[in-house]
Structures are given as C-alpha cells and as structure tokens.
C-alpha cells in the first residue's frame, strides 16, 4: 500500500474530507499540510483534497457519536493553532476514536490525543484572553472597532461571545496578523477584509477616523485604572503574570498616549 501526502484548505471541514478520502481509498496517510504552505511540490507525490461539505458532515456525525462534546471541540480547536504538523495529530486522534468501540477521547496516555487536548486548552486560554483584552474604539461612522494579533487564529471562536454581548451596536474585530476581521451589522456577523490605513493604529484615537469623544473615554478609563489601584499593596509580578507585556500595546489603560 502506497502512502500519500495530502494538502487541504486549512479548514476543519477540509481535514474531515481528508479523513473521508483516506478511509474511502484505504490510503495510508503520511502527511497532511495546508495547501498554501507547500512549495516545490513538483516532484513529490501530493494529493490535493478538495473540501466536500457532505463528506465532512458524515465524518463529523460519526465523530460526535464516538466522543464527548469536549473531545470533538478539541479536535476542531486544535487546528486553529496553525502549528505545523498538528493535522497529523488530529488525524491520528480521529483514527484512534473511530477504531475503538469505547469513547477514547479522554485517554491521555495516547500521545496524539494528549497533544490535541493540550493544544485545544491553549486555544481556549487565548480565546478567553481576547474576550477580556479586546478594546473597542468608536469610529466616526458609529462602529465600535478593535484590532488584535492573537497567537492563534481565535477569531472564529470569539465571534459568538461578542455577537451575543454586543447585540445593539455595530462592531468590527480585526486580526492584523491574519488580515481578516469580523463585522457585526446589527443583524449578523460576517468575515471581512480591509485595507487599513496605518493612522488607525492599535490604540489612541486619530481624529480622522474616530469619534471626537473617543479619546476622552480612553482618558477616563486610564483615570479609573490608576485610581482603583491600592499603592500600598503593589505587586508588579502578579500584575504582569495576569496581563503579559505582549498585550500592553492594545490596552488603552496600559498605553502611554494622551
């Protein structure tokens, strides 16, 4: 039996289609990579899997039957890490799940299952951090606008939280690293791409783009942040442990402008 290398589009559905294709053709898979990351494929034996939603759904249905809700979510989320090679761990985990009658998604002695679970935990931490550290700024056209550069691609998993919470205001959250954002227009949330003028920046409130009162609210927030601190209890180590320095530039209370 020959082994094959798959490429796919990077989505969870895409990966599930890979699983379907492998089982259907009884193929042994030696590697799965995102299409865009593969170069010089001229001489290698690479099979590009086209995402098929129906096939993906069939695999997903089977997996949901054979895993706990958390186990299924872990597989989905682990892919968002964009870490090279994570696909093969998810793939191995899926094979392990399918080939056992019992639910094995909590058997952490299996190396791939452990890795996928740990990766999903990291994603969940990053998700929670973004839900806390996103800072909206009100634009001239009354959209609450925020940028972020998360370590992992958490935009898809934070959308439900923000959609539920900010149901009565238009908002955009933009991932500068991946150049994709989410826009809520009071009815639905959609993915968007923007050409951002550098003047918009990651904090502050450039007069050209932002509402004239925006900078005042940032100043009030800074004032609150300073006043609510108890100086005789200072504990900078604990402070930095909770708010790692790499996030400071997004937090208006920590930035030095104004």
């Amino acid at each position: 039996m020959n082994s094959v290398n798959f490429t796919y589009d990077g989505t969870f559905e895409g990966l599930l289609t890979c699983v379907f294709t492998a089982y259907e053709g009884k193929l042994q898979v030696s590697n799965i990579q995102v299409e865009e990351d593969v170069q010089n494929q001229l001489f290698s034996d690479i099979y590009n899997v086209i995402t098929d939603v129906d096939k993906a759904k069939r695999v997903a249905k089977k997996l949901q039957l054979k895993t706990s809700p958390n186990g299924f979510k872990s597989m989905k989320w682990a892919l968002l890490s964009e870490i090279k090679g994570i696909e093969m761990d998810v793939f191995e985990m899926i094979r392990e799940v399918i080939s056992n009658d019992a639910k094995v998604d909590t058997d952490y002695s299996h190396p791939s299952i452990l890795k996928v679970t740990q990766m999903a935990k990291k994603i969940s931490r990053e998700k929670h951090r973004m839900e806390a550290f996103i800072r909206f700024r009100l634009t001239k056209d009354h959209i609450y606008f925020a940028v972020m550069e998360p370590d992992f691609n958490v935009l898809p998993v934070i959308i439900p939280h923000f959609t539920r919470r900010y149901a009565d205001q238009k908002w955009i959250i933009y991932d500068l690293k991946r150049k994709i954002g989410a826009y809520y227009d009071l009815k639905k949330t959609e993915f968007i791409q923007l050409n951002l003028d550098p003047e918009i920046g990651i904090s502050g409130a450039s007069q050209r783009y932002f509402h004239k009162e925006e900078s005042n609210f940032q100043i009030l927030w800074q004032e609150y942040f300073t006043s609510t601190n108890i100086k005789s209890r200072i504990n900078m180590r604990l402070h930095q442990q909770h708010v790692p320095k790499r996030y400071w530039k997004y937090l208006s209370e920590k930035s030095t402008f104004g």
């Binding site: 009100l138 539920r164 900010y166 205001q169 009030l220 006043s227 609510t228 442990q241 937090l251």
Partner: protein, 420 residues
C-alpha cells in the same frame, strides 16, 4: 458631557471605592434576550489587572463620598478632611454604558457614602440600576451595595434590578463595631441581609410554579470584613464568617487586610504593613469551610484562636490530628481525601478518576499535581518506599517549611532566612 469634571469625580469616587475587594462578576443568569447591550450568563471576565495584582472586572465607584457617619476605619468618614464629590444618576449610567460598549468592564459595582438617610441613599442607587435595566436595556452585571438600615420595600426593589447585593459588616465583633463605628447599630447591617435572603428564597419557590417570576438578585449576596483593624482574633473573624454563610446563605465573604488611612489611636498607625499573609490564610480557611467539608471549630477554637502564619490551615490541622493519618489514597472516600494536606479539589477529582483503572503510586500522584512535599507524610499509596516517618509534629512542620517555597517567605519568620 463635561469630561474634565467627570474625570475629577471619577478619580475621587473610584479611589474611595477601591477598598471594597469584591470584584466577582460571575454567577448571574442574565442572558441578552432583548437585543439589548450585554450578557452576564457565562463566567466572569477580568478585563484588566491593576498594579496591585487585583482583577478589574466591574466599574467600582461610589455614588458620593459625602457621609453622615464617622466610622474610624473608613476614608469617607465625616471627620476626614478630603475632597468630596457626587455623581448624578445620569453620569453613572453614561459611564457604565460607554465603558461596557468598549469592552472595558463586565458591569457596575455601585456603593455610596450615606447622605441624609439610609433610605434616601438606597433609593438613589436603585435609580441608577433601574435606569440601566429599563431605559438602556443593559444586561451586564450590576452589584449594588445594600445600605445598612434601608427599608424592606427598597431592598425588595433593589434585587429586581441588581445581580448581586452586599452589605459590608466590616468589623467582625460587636465590641469592635461599638469602638470604631459608634453611630452604627449591629442590627442595621442584619436587616437588609435578612430581607434579601428571604426574597431569594421566595423567588426560588415562586419560580417553580410561575416561570415569568421576575429575577431577584440571581448572583446572591456577599459581605466583607476588615482584617487587622480592631484587634480581633482569627477565630472571631471566621466564626462570624461561618455565621453569615449559614444564616444568610452568603455566596461569598471577603476579607480585606486593613490599609492604614488614619492617625486615629484606635487603629494601626499610618505606614504599618497591610496584613496580606493573614488575609491569605483567612481565605484558605474560608475555602476549607466551603469546599473541603471542614467545620470552622476544627480549624479554630478555644485553644487555637489564631491561624498558624507559617503553614496553611489544612496542614496545621493535620499536624494536630496525627492519629487520623496515614491515609491510603487508593481506598478512602472523597470526604477523607479532601482532608489530606497538599491535595486540592482538582487533585482529589483526578485521583478518584485515575484509581478506577489502576492503583496509584508516588509517580502517578506527582503527575496528577499533588504537592508531595506536604502530602507524602500523611498518605500511603501503591509504592514500596514509605515516606512516613515517626517524626513529632513540630519536627515535621520544620521539615515541610524548609522544603517548600512560599511567596510569603519574607513575611514569615526571620528564622527562615537561616535555612534558606
């Protein structure tokens, strides 16, 4: 909005509110069903942390710091010569909405100095919450302070709009209260607590039959005690605390190390250190009471009126009760596992899961995350080598202190630096 004026008020009234340590924003069940702003159905979120390492989750302010009372421990006391300010109802509503819309906060924590009368003040606090809920469609978290002495009618109304209500008892003993807050009566604190408790019970009853019963303080009530202001013992504090949990179904009791703010001779002098280690030990005791099945009298009693600062209260209890150990972690039930020093709630659950498949040994326990440096002297597991040696409790305590790292090392004893 006059921003400069608002900024000044914010600085005064946030500064005055900061000694209230509660910042919890979880435990409510308010979902965003009206296409309004906000949702407080999930877990709480800490949006930032101040430089003292405390979570910033709510906009925590006083409506005003004008106060008719003269409680010695309070910055806002009548006789203190400080700048005074007062927010208008609309200003608080505006600030809350604007901060919430920018994802700065989870909601509002509104307290106040007492001006004119208890009811007059309480009525103002309610007006803010009511406006947020009814006019602004706000579903974020609202924590209101119950003003001591407020009438039952107002306490009933407050719970309709707030997620949590709290009265800070501040001084754990009646005698301390008499000394430091002579104008306040002990009963005035208890009255609103009693009313809120009864309303919550009634709400839960009615809810069973009528689904549309309006929510009443879904995140319950809490209180706070100042530690180290009136010479009270740890036993006094924790016995009061146990009383509040039991009598008023409190969700939380907070302990706040006294930050010196006055040169009043009845109080610790300005510049004395905040008793943070003691505060930590009290929280540990609180957790043992609420989650580990300890009765407060096992931890603190006539012979042991103070907690041991050098070691945690569970270890201290275990060293006093050596006859109950060693415990075989592969056999005993959950309630007993919880009593082993160095084994926390998470480890207990993991042990119970894991021991279904195999007998656990030192290696397993280590990987599970048990603090073996403490636990190993109190347990038996599936390993040949026994760590249990017949040391005396005092000797054992010294060994454990020597082999553990505490973030409070500096504050503990000067002796320690010899060993380090």
């Amino acid at each position: 909005m006059n921003f400069d004026r608002i900024k000044e008020k914010l600085s005064i009234l946030a500064d005055a509110a900061k000694y209230d340590v509660s910042c919890s924003s979880s435990g409510s069940k308010r979902t965003n069903t009206n296409k309004g702003l906000g949702d407080s159905s999930g877990m709480g979120i800490c949006h930032s942390y101040t430089e003292d390492g405390r979570c910033v989750s709510l906009l925590k302010i006083l409506l005003t710091n004008h106060c008719i009372f003269d409680c010695a421990y309070c910055v806002t006391r009548k006789s203190n010569d400080i700048k005074r300010a007062a927010f208008k109802v609309e200003e608080v509503v505006d600030l809350t909405m604007s901060f919430y819309r920018r994802n700065y906060i989870e909601g509002l924590f509104l307290s106040s100095g007492i001006f004119k009368s208890a009811d007059f003040t309480m009525e103002r606090l309610i007006r803010v919450a009511k406006k947020l809920r009814l006019e602004e469609n706000f579903n974020g978290y609202i924590h209101l302070k119950s003003i001591p002495g407020a009438s039952d009618e107002l306490m009933r109304e407050a719970g309709l709009y707030a997620d949590r209500l709290s009265v800070n008892i501040e001084i754990p003993t009646k005698s301390g209260l008499k000394l430091l807050a002579p104008d306040k009566k002990h009963e005035d604190f208890m009255k609103p607590m009693e009313k809120v408790k009864n309303e919550i019970i009634q709400y839960k009853q009615e809810k069973k039959f009528i689904k549309s019963t309006p929510k009443y303080a879904p995140a319950g009530q809490s209180t706070q005690m100042i530690v180290g202001a009136s010479g009270e013992s740890d036993r006094d504090i924790m016995y009061s605390s146990a009383f509040f949990y039991k009598k008023y179904n409190m969700k939380r009791v907070y302990y706040s190390g006294y930050v010196p703010i006055s040169d009043d001779p009845r109080l610790p002098a300005l510049g004395s250190a905040v008793p943070m280690l003691r505060e930590n030990r009290l929280y540990q005791t609180d957790w043992l009471m609420r989650f580990y099945g300890f009765d407060v009298r096992e931890l603190l009693n006539q012979e042991h009126q103070h907690l041991d600062m050098e070691i945690d209260p569970k270890l201290s209890w275990a060293l006093r009760n050596r006859d109950l150990f060693p415990i075989d972690i592969n056999r005993v039930e959950k309630q007993i596992l919880l009593r082993i020093p160095g084994i926390g709630l998470k480890s207990v659950n993991k042990i119970i899961q894991a021991r279904k498949f195999r007998k656990l040994n030192w290696e397993h326990l280590k990987r599970i995350g048990v603090a073996l440096n403490r636990a190993k002297y109190f347990i038996i597991c599936d390993s040949r080598e026994k760590e249990l040696v017949e040391y005396s409790s005092d000797h054992l305590k010294n060994i454990i202190i020597k082999t553990s790292v505490s973030k409070f090392r500096k504050e503990i004893s000067p002796q320690l630096s010899l060993f380090a």
